[in-house]
Amino acid sequence: MAEKKVAKNPMKKKKKNGRLDILTKGFIRENPIFIFLLGMCPALAVTSTMETGLGMGLLVILVLTGSNVVVSLIRNLIPEQIQIPAFIVVIATFVTIVGMLTEAYAFALHQSLGIFIPLIVVNCLIMGRATSFASKNKVSDSAIDGFGMALGFTFALMLIGATREIFASGAIALGVYLPLPFEISIINTEMYLFNMDVFAGPAGGFIVIGVLLALFTAIGNYRQKKKEAERQAWIEQKKKEAAERKRKKAMESAGDAS
């Protein structure tokens, strides 16, 4: 009798490569915007084009990685009771520095992001990572965590920005705000008659994020249902196997008795 393929236990977690997991979890599973709703203000304000979203993302990558490293470095030097304010000082310093660097080396981006550069200070994502991860982990892990989370944030901003830009202008441009040596449109539908300016404006921002969130929730729900169904199937099978074993045992014991 050929051995029956045994279903894997879906409840048993797959063994994961620790560092890789820290890096990639921010993309979908723990995406700061779509899952945790952190940093909604910049997600609405600077995503009228994909490139400004990307630019904001890059700044957040710099700030979050930097602040995570410093927070992790000083986590044992700072007394417990003043940890949170000390972290705020670290973050504010990083934001000020990154703001100055942007103004010096990416002036167009600095102009288009406006007050949202200083407002990175109050982005809950950064403080959240500092308190919940960097203050408890090694420097290298904290750096990877900050980088990965900010990458997920950037990905979300770019997705929102791309959606809004394509609806608003029918094309996606690159090289306008960032100091790139070229200026191209990645996608150009040439459908100028169908441009909807409202997507570049505030109303479009809210609606696009709302729709994308619903999409992500739907995918999450679908996955969960699938997982649930798998789990149910596995339980059914286990039950069946157990019943089989029981029956066999009973038959064996009956055979012994006879």
Partner: protein, 202 residues
Amino acid sequence: MISPTVFFVAIVSSMLINNIVLMRFLGVCPFLGVSRKTESALGMSAAVTFVMLVASVLTYILYYLVLDPFGIEYISTIAFILVIASLVQLVEMFIKRFSQKLYKMLGIYLPLIVTNCAILGIVEINIRENYAVQYGFGAGLAVAVTSALGAALGFALVMFAFSSIRERLDAATVPESWKGVPISLVVAGIMALAFLGLGGIV
């Protein structure tokens, strides 16, 4: 002497036309987070109004008496956020000590305000507007505080309206994946469209 219309325009434009939440995208986190009940929306608005007014006065004075004369405007970001943060700490402390009633009303919302980009945003905008250059130090301060008041009123207005809508939304039948934040965001988008029409006032 500046005419009273300046104040009127400052209030109307920062409350309705450049509404802090729907047009400037500041304070979206509390807008989504604390707007589930009308009561908490109003509590949050009261706390924001108070802190915003005091913070605009303090940062304006700090900027024009210390940072600007010494040519060290570049530290304004860190200076402002720390001033706001310490302001919130002090206010919370005083409320805890002297008024239990007030603490019950505002206590939960005060710590939330530090990470509320509305305060830091309005403070930054006020400085960028160069009111002191336009109207002189004293009158500029008055205009800055007036527009901060307008912004706070605009925040309260939108919070109140939005929380009322959300209370209804909770009772409505919404598709599974749209429940909660997604449908609220779309509603906020429609509200923003409505506010777009107010641009014609001025």
